[in-house]
Amino acid sequence: MSDLSSPTPADALDGASTVEVRTSASAALIPTIRAVASDLAARADFDLDAISDLRMAVDEACATLVDVASPTSWLHCTFLVRPERIEVHAQVQTKHADAVVSTDTFGWRVLQTLADEVAVHHDPGRGDTSPTVEIRLDKRSGDVLR
């Protein structure tokens, strides 16, 4: 069962390392996903503030999605580690196509501040595929221009 909208390793032809984490869509498992985000950013030589920001951004995205996820959904996170930035795609299935992520919340504004780019995509699903919501965010490794 593949997520049509998620990048596969073959898509990352620019040499990105890809890490995928799939958990039950439960708040209790978000700390594990935060730990993966921190680890990848640290190994990619992100500066300390950028590591903190990415960890918090990933937490925010996951918490937002878990909030609208159907009870049996996975929380699927893909990390694309590039030389100077990490791209994160986080996705859950929702019960109904009208379960939407509000971008008018304090949490969403914090997410926009933490990440360099962030977007939400709602897919209503078709036939027997569930509706999904995906949050994509980008974080650069630091402020220094290289």
Binding site: P31, E60, F106, L111
Partner: protein, 131 residues
Amino acid sequence: MGESVQPGPGMAGVSASEFLDTAISEPSPGTALLTVRGEIDTLTAPTFTAAADELLATPADTLVIDLTDVRFLASSGLAVLISAAHRAEERAVRLRLVVPTRAVRRPIEITGTGPLFDLHPDLASATGGRD
């Protein structure tokens, strides 16, 4: 001060961060201190909210939250701090935060919410002196 409950063998799959340690004390007359340890996220935010409510319910005129041992602060936790600062202001008290680590300072910095609080690098400076 309470001990954190660590997950035992029967709790496979449950993260230790589900548990947040909070304790209220009165280090000196008129000063109320809330000490928090662990990670403040979606799971533990309700516990943190309850503890902040308890702090604000005290009649103290110096209110301190020690976040020294908080390893992670989510936006939900920051929202509790902001709300607590506003409630303290209602009785002309500035909420003091002990924030020596990046894990707590950075979220406050990057959201520009620093001016809402009296930020301190250690507990001694937060509890010493008068407003």
